[in-house]
Each structure stands twice: as C-alpha cells, then as structure tokens.
Symmetry: C2
Subunit: 198 residues, 2 copies
C-alpha cells in the first residue's frame, strides 16, 4: 500500500488533537515525531515522544535540508525530520503531522506530495464555547485565539481539504476517505501502471 | 450536500459499464444523459435514455456552448448537455458521465471542476481474457482494442484518479471515497466557510 504524509492544521479548539489521537489508535496511522533541542521531561522517550538532540546537530540538520520545517519555541528548536517521514512512507504508512498553518506551508514547500487538511469547528460561536468550556485559559487568551482563528480563515484555501469537525468519528471517517482517495492518484500508482504490462 | 460531476473512462473490458450501473442503483448517483440526433429505438424514452433532438437544434446547442463535449458516431451526433449536468449538481447530486478519453478531456476544458477517474483492469493479460470471454467480438477487433488500451496508458496521468478494477464492489467503494473526499475541497465548501462567521 502506498504511504502518504497527511498534515492536519486547525485553530486551537478545532479538536485536532482528539482526531489525530484516534487516527493513531483506531486507524493505525503513524504520527510524525519531531526533533527538538529541549531536554527530555520525566517519562519522555527518545524516538517515541521526540528525537532529542543537541543545538549543533539541529543546526547541521537544518543546513543540510534534513528538516521539512522548523521553529523556535520558548528558546528551544523543534523540527520535522525528513528522514523519519520518508522511512515511514516507504514502509507504506500514513504519517500524520499536526502543525500550525505556517509550518504546514513550509512542509509543502519542501515536500510537495504532502496532503494538507484543515480542521475547523462549525462556527466561531462554537469555537468560543469549546475554549470557554475547556477552562484552561483566561478570557484575554481566548479572545486572542478567536481573533487568530478569524485571521486564518482565508488561508484555508491553501489547503487541499477542509473538514468541519462537529463529531470526531465523522471527521476521522472523512480523513480516511481522503487517504483512500489520495492513494489513487496516478502519480502514486506508477507501480500498478507498470504491472499492467506484465 | 455539494453536487459533483464525475467522469469515468477506461478501455473496453475495464468493467466501467458494470461499475457505473452500480453507482447508479446502489449509491444513487445520477447518470448524465446525452443529447443525440439519432432516432429513438423501441423502448427508448426522451429525457430518460437520451434527449432526442434535430440536427439544427444540435448545431445551435454546439454553437452556443451548451455542450460539454460532442462527437459524431455512425452519422449521428452525440453530446453532453451542460444545462442538465449543472441542474443535477445544483440539486446536490453526483452526476456520472461514462465517456472515452478524448471526450473526458474535452469536458474538463469546458468544466474544470469535473473529477476524472480512470478505470483499468489489473493487467493487459486480464483485459485480453475478459474480452475473449465476453465473446462478442472477433480476434481482429479484440487485438485493436488491446492495442488502443496500450496507447492510452500514458494518458492516465491526465486523470485525477486511477482505479484498478479487480472487483466491482471494491471499485465502487473507491469511487465513493473519492466523491466524499472531493466534496471536502475548500473551493466546494465556501458555504460552510461563510457559515463559520454566523
């Protein structure tokens, strides 16, 4: 079976975390593992949660085009290692990368075969409700998140697919249909085309 | 639900007739109905099997860009009426048009939103077997069909999707996944995006 890189983005409160988890456990998709320069926390395993590395090695990877995207967050570097993604795909796996819009567009630039899916809640009102209900953030942070979600709406058109996430199972089924369909792209079926002549 | 035009092509013996029939009966897809200048045969109904028309009216339709494609076959004109396809799509239906490659590419030129699916048997050997087994044609015709299938292989890359039809149910499920996925294209979801702000 043809492997594939699927990128999932969406505003905080779009439910992408839950959806990605379900793709992982119920559908057997592989999660992309980031490389980072921060120290492992208690219980975190190298090659499982992250690939932990030194700033020097991170710089080398970046310079030698071994990262599909990278970003600095609270003084630490994070990136998506190209080699790991390509290895999973070569094994026929669907690799899922959950990342914000700028990172997603960076990955597409370096890996044009990636499939970009944007997840969003049905309405801004519903998004606001979810964030308030989650109760992990104050009103100012929630307002900032809603403002950012609004600003990001025009960027949805850069994505290949848009899923309105009003129910997790339904969103997961839609992503599965997208993967089934994308595997049927002629450029991904060259082996079957060759087989036709045998 | 968003309507869609799905075009299915494939060599004679690819099983596209059976697949299209099942999409029609089991999945509720609407078949595109051709307009033709030939006389109705016994049992054929206008607006059901074909839209029957005069050569003058056909010429007018062609000149006024009312046909998505047209061809001459054994002295009679055949074409795909744009208005009928657009009406079905506006009603949210999936319209299926079974047509050969040149016609499919003609339609795409006039209707870029069409989704093009190519159906093919697993191997040339299997295609040959199916044609021989069908026993409706002589060896010379079968050879011509196989030769044509081989010539058409490079054109598969013009299609959006390729389905190897080794089992009808499986091919139908794949087309269904393609339709589900294609409905999630951001350009087809502008209504949901607008709804987000409500």
């Amino acid at each position: 079976m043809q492997g594939l890189l699927v990128i999932i983005s969406g505003p905080s409160g779009s439910g992408k975390g839950t959806v990605v988890k379900q793709l992982d456990t119920a559908k057997g998709y592989a999660r992309s593992i980031s490389v980072t320069t921060r120290a492992p926390r208690a219980g975190e395993e190298d090659g499982q949660d992250y690939f932990f590395t030194t700033p020097e090695e991170f710089t080398r990877m970046r310079q030698e085009n071994e990262l599909l995207e990278h970003a600095l967050f609270v003084g630490h570097n994070y990136g998506t290692p190209r080699h790991y993604v390509e290895k999973q795909i070569a094994e026929g796996k669907v690799v899922v990368l959950e990342i914000e819009i700028q990172g997603a567009l960076q990955v597409r630039g370096k890996f044009p075969d990636a499939v970009l899916i944007f997840l969003m809640p049905p309405t801004l009102h519903e998004l606001s409700n979810r964030l308030v209900k989650r109760a992990t953030e104050d009103a100012v942070t929630i307002d900032a998140r809603l403002k950012r979600a609004l600003e990001e709406v025009p960027l949805i058109n850069e994505y290949d697919y848009l899923i309105i996430n009003d129910e997790v199972d339904c969103a997961v089924a839609k992503i599965d249909a997208i993967v089934d369909a994308e595997r049927l792209r002629p450029r991904r079926c060259q082996q079957q085309i060759t087989h036709f002549f045998i």
